[in-house]
């Protein structure tokens, strides 16, 4: 089996390289047979990577400790679900998993476009196959996943205990899906630059891919935050760690891209900007991979550190150079055909939205690499941690929240004074009222007041957009209000899906701000039967219980939760002691409500069963996760393939083809 895995990887590399050559040669010389051959090679590459992955999974499940990777990340006592997740628990496995996703996506993109976009597709295949070839080269020449041990151990080292968690089963795949999906739109952009088809065809064709990439990246970040919240046990969910930042930056630039393409589609403008954004987003996914794996910046999340950094840096330099050269080469054709008319317009709001998103991305990038810069320039090691990122990004984030309300209701082209008053009067009054009510109720922090007020403003604008649209449709078609709302979303999925996503983001803003500003925490050492208060809750420590199996020993405390004298819950925070590797881990327990989360950590228990308990009350943090669910619904509305959407898309494609032929 091991030989099959190795052979599959060698052949996959060969087929990827051939796919690049055949597609580029075929496209340049207009030889369809070469293009077809290149695409078949890409399918073969996918199959071969699939075989290598199956071999690795088989080795993990059968505990084949002859393989160094299996011995390093699995054990005979590891539950099956974690044995499977060990595939992405280490460097070689995660790279293999990455290539599997990439080649699968390429195969899917080729299949979707088997009879359309034939001009662009050779370059999409060539670009994606180049990226696949890079990762396969690492797997074949630098970090072979099937490397053998000269003396196989009887038992494996096991998966890092921190990764033995439900969220770690779904967080890395979501993040990888998000990272890797950007390769396809990037491939379309390169195809547009190479062929000179610089209209909005490549944008429309890759729109669903972009949304999917953005969606999975959003989920990946949220799942990661949830994992940190439940597993790392420090009461928070985002620590501005370099690896977290690495996933956040492409999300920001991708969000900017999803907004700015609307201007290109509508006004045939910002072509250079959109190209730059898609190149930047893809480059940041590679940069993120570099950060996670290079070890150049220390991170609590770097479970897969290695010496691969220079390879990623060179590849990144290659991507940026080639892309930039293509943009410069096509600069004349990328010039806009139309112009912007006024600063008071939706186009400008989109541009400022882009500026703020990129500003936050830059601040995050700057803070992440600044320790390295400081060491280079001054020879002094410094730390850039959460206080820096919070202080620098908070004003930009709050301004972005305000723009989320302005963008959807300000007029395209030019907003007159009358329009501004009509559109903004009620949302502004509502936002101010919400802020005042919050102030009267005791909110005194400026940041919290601004976020509350702006959230009210944004929610009002979104609600009024839905209401006005449904009312108009009801008047025209004579439907019920509910049917009119549904019809409205069906008719313009992208717009209303976007609005729903905005609502989700507002919930996230509220959750993040309130749980950061108004968090309450207590730490107490208590004996059995003793109580202590935290926020509105009283906790009584009842007892502790220890259990043990072949995999780990558990020590769990039982805490009864009271509010206003009434028992409302029983919590069981745990301390776990994994046997291989010998490592303690914290298993927090929490009671989550819409108002707040009661978050309890068991610190220690001595021989008299006296326990040290750390408890937090995190207000409104539930809304952060709820915002994630709303975001999922909004993305679903935006991309759900309805018959109407398919017909419209086909009509647009036909029109574009005709324009091109003319």
């Amino acid at each position: 089996m091991i030989e099959i895995g190795n052979l599959a990887l060698y052949l996959a590399l060969a087929t990827a390289l051939y796919a690049v050559f055949a597609c580029v040669f075929g496209a340049q010389t207009r030889r369809r047979d070469f293009v077809a051959s290149g695409e078949h090679a890409a399918y073969a590459c996918w199959g071969l990577v699939g075989i290598a992955t199956i071999v690795m999974l088989h080795a993990l499940i059968t505990n084949d400790f002859r393989i160094k990777y299996v011995a390093g990340y699995s054990s005979t006592t590891l539950p099956l679900r974690y044995t499977v997740t060990a595939l992405w628990g280490g460097m070689e496995g995660s790279l293999l998993f990455w290539v599997l996703i990439l080649t699968s996506f390429l195969a899917l993109a080729q299949f979707q476009n088997r009879s359309r976009n034939r001009e662009l597709m050779p370059y999409v295949t060539a670009t994606s196959a180049t990226v696949a070839a890079f990762f396969l080269s690492l797997l074949v020449f630098v970090t072979p996943p099937f490397a053998l041990l000269s003396r196989p151990p009887l038992e494996g080292t096991d998966l890092n205990p921190l990764l033995q968690n439900y969220w770690m089963q779904i967080h890395p795949p979501s993040l990888y899906l998000g990272y890797v999906s950007w390769t396809i739109p990037f491939g379309f952009a390169i195809g547009a630059l190479a062929t000179g088809r610089l209209d909005d065809l490549w944008i429309r064709t890759s729109r669903r891919w972009c949304l999917a990439a953005w969606f999975f990246l959003s989920l990946g970040n949220l799942f990661g935050a949830r994992w940190a919240y439940e597993v790392l046990g420090w009461g928070g969910y985002w620590a501005w760690d370099p690896v977290e930042n690495a996933a956040f930056m492409p999300w920001l630039t991708g969000t900017a891209y999803l907004h700015s393409v609307m201007i290109q589609e509508r006004k045939d403008m910002l072509k250079v900007w959109n190209m730059t954004l898609i190149i930047l987003t893809f480059s940041l996914t590679i940069f993120g991979t570099f950060l996670t794996r290079s070890g150049v910046i220390s991170s609590v999340h770097s479970f897969t550190q290695s010496g691969l950094g220079p390879f990623f840096l060179w590849f990144l330099a290659f991507i940026i150079s080639v892309s930039a050269a293509l943009v410069v080469w096509r600069m004349k054709e990328l010039r806009p055909r139309h112009k912007l008319d006024s600063i008071l317009s939706r186009e400008s709001a989109f541009l400022f939205n882009n500026l703020l998103l990129l500003g936050i991305a830059f601040a995050t990038f700057w803070g992440t690499i600044f320790p390295v810069l400081s060491e280079w320039v001054r020879g002094v090691k410094i730390t850039v941690g959460p206080p820096f990122f919070n202080q620098v990004n908070a004003p930009l984030g709050i301004a972005l929240l305000l723009l989320m309300g302005i963008g959807p209701i300000i007029a395209w082209r030019r907003a007159s004074a009358r329009h501004l008053v009509e559109s903004f009067l009620w949302p502004s009054l509502f936002g101010i009222t919400v802020g005042l009510v919050a102030f009267v109720l005791g909110m005194r922090t400026l940041q919290a007041l601004l976020v509350t007020s702006f959230s009210g403003f944004v929610l009002y604008t979104v609600a009024s957009e839905f209401h006005a649209g449904a009312r108009a449709r009801r008047a025209m078609v004579g439907e019920s209000y509910g049917a009119a709302l549904l019809g409205l979303m069906q008719k313009n999925q992208r717009r209303y899906g976007g609005y729903i996503i905005h609502v989700g983001v507002v919930f996230m803003f509220l959750g993040v701000t309130m749980s950061s500003v108004y968090r309450v925490e207590e730490i107490h050492t208590v004996e059995r039967g003793q109580e202590f208060a935290v926020g509105p809750y009283t906790l009584r420590y009842d007892d502790a219980e220890s259990t043990e199996d072949a995999h780990m020993a558990r020590l769990a405390a039982t805490l009864t939760v009271f509010e206003d004298g009434k028992q409302i819950d029983v919590l069981h925070p745990e301390k776990r002691f994994y046997k291989r590797p010998e490592q303690p881990a914290t298993e927090v327990d929490l009671r989550s409500t819409m108002r707040d989360d009661l978050y309890v950590i068991l610190g220690s228990i001595d021989e008299k069963r006296t326990a040290t308990i750390q408890a937090y009350v995190n207000p409104l943090v539930w809304w952060l996760w709820c915002g994630g669910v709303v975001l999922v619904i909004g993305t679903g509305v935006a991309v759900f393939p309805t018959r109407r959407a398919r017909v419209l898309e086909r009509a647009r494609e036909t029109a574009a083809e005709r324009r091109q032929q003319a």
């Binding site: 620590a239 703020l356 500003g359 090691k381 930009l396 329009h419």
Partner: protein, 160 residues
């Protein structure tokens, strides 16, 4: 040029605010947040959840005692910086080269904002590329002027 100047001033103010905010009085939690735990957890002294942490716990106790004695947050941070070096601080001190870390993002966003404003204003003044200049209202007869006005109003209504 009023708007670019205002934008410039606004972002300069934000940059200055982030720098000077570091001299403001600090709470105990803020001082703990301003120090990075050296146990390897990667978190701040305030957030470190290792309940037997050999660094965070004594430092928290020291901060509490020092503040009770009347020492300011800045003085406590200076003491720790002297003992462990700059790496113990969770954010760069706003002097010298480190100023770049604080003001860099605001300078970048400020320049971007000014660029957008200037570019839009220039575009708004220039005729649309590839199109002949629009006739001046004075060149049109009364009927044409009325039609043009109606058309503009309808377009505005439609776009709103």
């Amino acid at each position: 040029m009023k708007l670019p100047v205002l934008l410039c001033a606004g972002f300069l103010w934000l940059g200055a605010w982030t720098v000077f905010a570091q001299d403001a009085p600090m709470s105990r939690a803020a001082v703990e947040e301003a120090l990075t735990c050296q146990c390897g957890c990667g978190l701040t002294v305030h957030a470190c959840n290792h309940l037997q942490c050999s660094f965070a716990i004594p430092v928290r106790e020291d901060i509490a005692e020092s503040m009770e004695r009347g020492e300011t947050g800045q003085q406590i941070l200076a003491r720790y910086r002297e003992k462990y070096g700059e790496k113990v601080l969770s954010s760069p001190i706003a002097t010298g080269f480190n100023l770049l870390a604080w003001v860099g993002p605001y300078v970048a966003v400020g320049l971007g904002a000014i660029f957008i404003v200037v570019a839009i204003r220039r575009m708004a003044r220039a005729p649309a590329p590839g199109l002949p200049a629009a006739p001046k209202p004075a060149d049109l007869d009364r009927n044409a002027q009325q039609r043009l006005a109606r058309l503009r109003k309808e377009m505005e209504d439609m776009e709103q």
